[in-house]
């Protein structure tokens, strides 16, 4: 039987058990570190969003009339770097992973709390390097830093930015390392691998990628910095270097990186759909293994970014086939989610709206990825707006919807407050509409041949660009509204009960917000995952 926590006026929780700035900046509590990360990623999301706004502003008219082309190059570069490395990669793992993983497995903290705090400082320092480079004048190479432009010809601050990303990468590595050890060694008694929440499986797979992939981009940026400083010749054809080698090394990480961005989101979606269908996930084992399959297969497809680079045709063919194969585990998940909802008691709460939006938008994004995986089609579509639309559908329509869904799902648990459901639903719908208006026209633009990374374009593309820019302003409004009602809820929202959604994972058996030590007594798990009778979760000393 669950012992009901007696309600008190000022509830003791990790939020107020220790007070003062130092208790936050020197905290070892994974829950507080998660909030530190939330502040960080929100800041960088806003900064990346400002660059997006500038891009769409310039592209509203065919002429390059807002800024010069060099400045525009800096806009899309900074947008990409900030959004990828400083927002998307850390977002869900560092915020929701950090907060929820120990709670979900019945542990008191992650395996290495000091490394956890260090990873946040490293992240902020890396971010500061990038901001410093930005203030000094920014980079104009594109977030992909292709050589020899980035190594020999760019006038931007490549070294400072590269160092910033290098440093931030260690934050990602430490987070992944912490999660792997935590999941392997800190599970509560009775919590076997196949009783774990699927959110955990998703983060385990993500952590595998973080550990195996991030060091490669670290060494790539290291070589780039050396090349730029000392003109050694690794990637410069003038000295016998091979620019395509840079692309291989860059994409060996950067393709699995997109799975770092999407897998946690899929984990969030699984939790949300399960809870708001009041039904066990359909095909638990398939979802679990497909997460690991995506992580593993994601490492052998990177050459699809190099189809027109001069890569050998045979390599291109192999990478194309493998890229089709990697879509299969993702598709499996979509079938699992829809089957979970089938004959479930579906409640259309805000997190559920985000999860449903995810399924639709991720499917479109994923299918258009197959268009690009086809060698013949990619020759025409590469470096056009089709690619941009594709990855924004999966990154924004997928990953960010999952992030927002997770924020709304776990907000009561993290902060102990309920937000206004009407406003949250309205903003979810605004975001969905704004997103599609922004990015669907870009598929058409790409098909029509509009190249990416150009600030001026022929007149016939204007109508779609205007639609896209209009959509972007709606999307921006949609993102601003949650700031308002979420912050408002912190002060004025009703207190949250331990389990407002009727969910069946361990974090919902604690009070909202949880105590600093998470559980008064360590839970012992005797039930399979997602069993919808929580009375059987036994608490023993």
């Amino acid at each position: 039987m669950i012992t009901a926590t007696p309600t008190v006026q000022v509830k003791k929780s990790y939020f107020n058990q220790k007070q003062g700035l130092a208790s936050w900046l020197l905290t070892l509590d994974h829950k507080r570190i998660a909030i530190l990360y939330l502040l960080g990623v929100t800041f960088f999301f806003a900064l990346g969003g400002i660059f997006a706004a500038l891009i769409r502003l310039e592209l509203a008219t065919p002429a390059g009339d807002l800024v010069e082309s060099n400045t525009y190059n800096k806009f899309f570069t900074m947008h990409g770097i900030i959004m990828v490395f400083l927002f998307l990669i850390p977002s869900i793992p560092a915020v929701m992973g950090n907060f929820c993983i120990p709670l979900m497995i019945g542990a008191k903290d992650v395996a290495f709390p000091r490394l956890n705090l260090m990873s946040w400082y490293i992240y902020m320092i890396g971010g500061c390097f990038v901001i410093t480079a930005l203030l000094m004048g920014g980079v104009d190479t594109g977030w992909t830093f292709y050589t020899p432009f980035s190594s020999s010809y760019s006038n931007g601050y490549v070294v400072a930015t590269g160092l910033g990303i290098f440093i931030a990468g260690f934050s990602s590595i430490l987070t992944g390392l912490n999660f792997i050890v935590t999941i392997h060694r800190m599970r509560a008694p009775g919590l076997t691998w196949f009783r774990l929440p699927l959110f955990i499986w998703a983060h385990y797979a993500t952590s595998m990628i973080q550990i195996l992939g991030t060091p490669v981009i670290a060494v790539t940026l290291f070589l780039l910095v050396l090349e730029r400083g000392l003109h050694i010749g690794f990637f410069d054809p003038a000295y016998g270097g091979d620019p395509v080698l840079f692309q291989h090394m860059f994409w060996f990480y950067s393709h699995p990186a997109v799975y770092i961005m999407i897998l946690p989101s899929m984990g969030v979606v699984t939790e949300i759909i399960t809870t708001f269908s009041s039904k066990k996930p359909f095909g638990y084992t398939f979802i679990a293994f497909s997460s690991v399959a995506i992580a593993v297969f994601g490492f052998i497809v990177w050459g699809h970014h190099l189809f027109v680079s001069g890569q050998s045709a045979y390599a291109g063919m192999v990478f194309s086939v493998l890229s089709y194969i990697v879509a299969i585990p993702s598709a499996i998940k979509v079938f699992n989610w829809t089957s979970t909802m089938y004959k479930g008691a579906v409640r259309l709460t805000t997190p559920m709206l985000y999860a449903l939006g995810f399924i639709g938008l991720f499917t479109i994004g994923g299918l258009t990825g197959l268009f690009l995986a086809s060698l013949g089609m990619d020759v025409h579509l590469t470096d056009t707006y089709f690619v941009i639309a594709h990855f924004h559908y999966v990154m924004v329509g997928g990953a960010i919807m999952g992030f927002l869904g997770g924020i709304h799902y776990w907000w009561p648990k993290i902060f102990g407050k309920m937000y206004n459901e009407n406003w949250s639903k309205i903003s979810a719908i605004i975001i969905f509409i704004g997103f599609n208006l922004t990015f669907f026209p870009q598929f058409i633009l790409g098909y029509m041949g509009m190249p990416r990374r150009y600030h001026a374009y022929p007149q016939e593309f204007q109508v779609w660009n205007v639609l896209s820019s209009a959509g972007a302003s709606i999307l921006g409004i949609g993102y601003l509204i949650p700031f308002c009602y979420l912050l408002w809820s912190l002060k004025y929202g009703p207190d949250a009960p331990p389990n407002p959604w009727g969910a069946a994972t361990l974090e919902w058996t604690t009070q909202s917000p949880p105590l600093a030590e998470n559980f008064e007594v360590t839970p012992v798990v005797t039930q399979e995952a997602y069993t919808y009778t929580t009375e059987e979760v036994v608490h023993v000393g």
Partner: protein, 236 residues
């Protein structure tokens, strides 16, 4: 919460006296196990980090075999082999240091850590000599670079030899940086060992550092043949 210092990456903490279990672990065995797995995960990242450099090496060796062979012949074979021997000796002494830490033999721990330190420093000293030698012979890319054979003729495919030397300095330099960090940590471990911090119930920092040191040795085991032993037959 005590305020311990982080000893080695992945290690759970440095408690003031051995046997202390952090609050989020159930027992010392779980804590040690977690620390060991964490250290191995860190070594995986190191494998992939060096791996990128090995990739660049193989890519350019395949593209310019003659340049690589000619440039490699300018490294000193005997010094390289001797330095490799020194490093392997340091691996032995490190393994013995861990062995005696598990047995709690304080003076032997200190002795073998000190020997490891000495051998590691010797390796670094020899490396410094080799670097200086390369500088003097104009084999540092970008600084009056001029690769010449023993007889004074230009190296074969001299235009591409800077790639070999860049990789030489990049790979051995990264390796040496790891060794310097290691030497620093050994000093710390010696200081702790002298105070009797390590014994059968807790010797995790020594063991985890041992893993790091052996890994650095393994990197060199590959660097030596790839950099020093290309096309050394006198017949060529």
């Amino acid at each position: 919460m005590d305020s311990p210092t982080v000893i080695a990456p992945g290690e759970a903490g440095a408690p003031p006296h051995h046997g202390h279990v952090e609050h989020h672990f159930e027992d010392a065995s779980q804590q040690k196990d977690a620390a060991t797995v964490g250290m191995w995960c860190f070594l995986v990242t190191e494998v992939m980090f060096f791996g990128g450099l090995f990739l660049a090496y193989f890519a350019y060796r395949q593209a310019y075999p003659a340049a690589f062979a000619s440039a490699s012949n300018n490294t000193n074979l005997i010094i390289g082999a001797a330095n490799t021997t020194v490093l392997i000796c340091s691996s032995l002494t490190m393994a013995l240091a861990v062995h005696f830490a598990a047995l709690g033999k304080r003076q032997l721990i200190v002795l073998f850590l000190a020997l490891t330190l000495l051998l590691g420093a010797t390796f670094l000293g020899v490396k410094a000599y080799e670097y200086h030698d390369k500088w003097v012979r104009h084999e540092v890319p970008g600084y009056h670079f001029d690769c010449r054979t023993e007889e004074g003729a230009p190296c074969t495919d001299a235009a591409h030899t800077p790639l070999f030397f860049s990789l030489y300095f990049g790979m051995t330099g990264l390796h040496a940086t790891h060794m310097i960090v290691g030497v620093g940590i050994i000093l710390f471990l010696i200081a702790k060992a002298r105070k009797g911090a390590y014994g059968p119930e807790w010797y995790t920092p020594v063991e985890l550092f041992g893993l790091y040191w052996h890994f650095v040795d393994i990197v060199w085991i590959f660097l030596f043949p790839l950099l020093y032993l290309i096309d050394r037959s006198a017949a060529k």
